[in-house]
Amino acid sequence: MSETTRNLELEQRLSAFVDGELDPEEAEEIRRILGEDPAARARLDDLQALSVALQTTLEEIGEEADFEGFADEVMRRVERAKAPAAAPGRRRFFEWGVRRRAPIFAAAAALAAVATVVAVGPGILGDSNRERLLLEGDPADTRILAMTTQGDHGATLFKTSAGTTIIYLTGK
């Protein structure tokens, strides 16, 4: 076994020693080494200093966060999740959209551009083809996946039972 490997093995055992995870015989052996080897002692000091500094840093991150209203918001979401499933897609969107309005609009707009060119063809927006395309498959199973508005535009993402995903871009 090379010296480097031996050192790494010792350091690994020191790490477990700091955590109190060595069995009594191994721990005794480490104590003996610590009594004889100043470098091992210095490594142990480092591990202990790191442990305290990490605990302090991580706890401060948690303590600095503001949790006022956090539990209330969780409970509101729990209540909404319990509500009758009249429009699950719409509800999911509103929960998400409140926090992520801009990204969803951007994503929907990008998808809309692709869908318009590749799947639907130009001219879909604003003409009667929308109705027909939306009602592909079972009309009762047409689900709204997401809706959003921003500025003068709205975007709506639908999925039908036929698996078609359709996006409306509309002006106000």
Partner: protein, 203 residues
């Protein structure tokens, strides 16, 4: 008298939302800290914490008590955080295993010399706390995760093995590598400046 987790879970399963609220209040900071350690973004960590509790409520009927409630909650939080990380993979660069070892190892005593030999909790100097957080953010996810669970949650190796679903021997070596890497990164950041914990002036 404060009810234990399992009693609260049983009440939740019977439809007691007040019991669920108690669990939220009990674990909100821990869940946030774990999510933050993984995604490194406060707002995103807060979103994940919200989503984690909502998912726990939705699945509370599935909880059989085979692991502790916190282990179960932690796994849900972790999965949500990892989903987020996967969705943004490529945006950030982290040190991988190999790159970590290219860093210069800190010489023995480096860190304790900077921090003092009798560091006291809660008196970490602001600039060092910032460097610590920065160094932590540089670690690979799995190293950040295991350090958080060990140092903040105080999980034993057995609990870590169960929570992370890895052998106990892997827990030992992963913790060692995480700590060695953290020290190496701190060596780069701290240089020879005398930074550290302020000893003795804040009780």
């Amino acid at each position: 008298m404060e009810l234990d987790d399992l009693t609260l879970v049983r009440k939740c399963q019977a439809g007691d939302d007040q019991a669920f609220r108690t669990l939220v209040l009990r674990y909100q900071r821990k869940v946030f800290s774990v999510a933050f350690a993984l995604v490194k973004d406060r707002e995103e960590a807060m979103d994940i914490a919200q989503d984690a509790f909502l998912r726990v409520h939705q699945r509370i009927g599935d909880f059989k008590g085979e692991s502790s409630f916190y282990t179960w909650l932690y796994r849900i939080t972790r999965n949500l955080a990892i989903d987020r990380l996967r969705s943004r993979r490529g945006e950030e660069e982290e040190l991988d295993e190999r790159a970590g070892w290219e860093l210069q190892r800190a010489e023995p005593g480096f860190l304790s010399n900077r921090l003092g030999t009798t560091p006291q909790r809660g008196v970490l100097r602001k600039e060092l706390a910032a460097q610590m957080a920065r160094a932590l953010a540089q670690l690979p996810e799995k190293h950040r995760e295991i350090l958080v669970l060990r140092e903040v949650e105080g999980m034993s190796y057995e609990e870590l093995a169960q929570t992370l679903d890895i052998p106990k021997g892997t827990v030992m070596s992963r913790l060692f590598h995480a700590r060695a890497k953290m020290q190496a990164i701190l060596r780069e950041y701290l240089g020879d400046e005398p930074l550290g914990l302020v000893a003795g002036d804040e009780g």
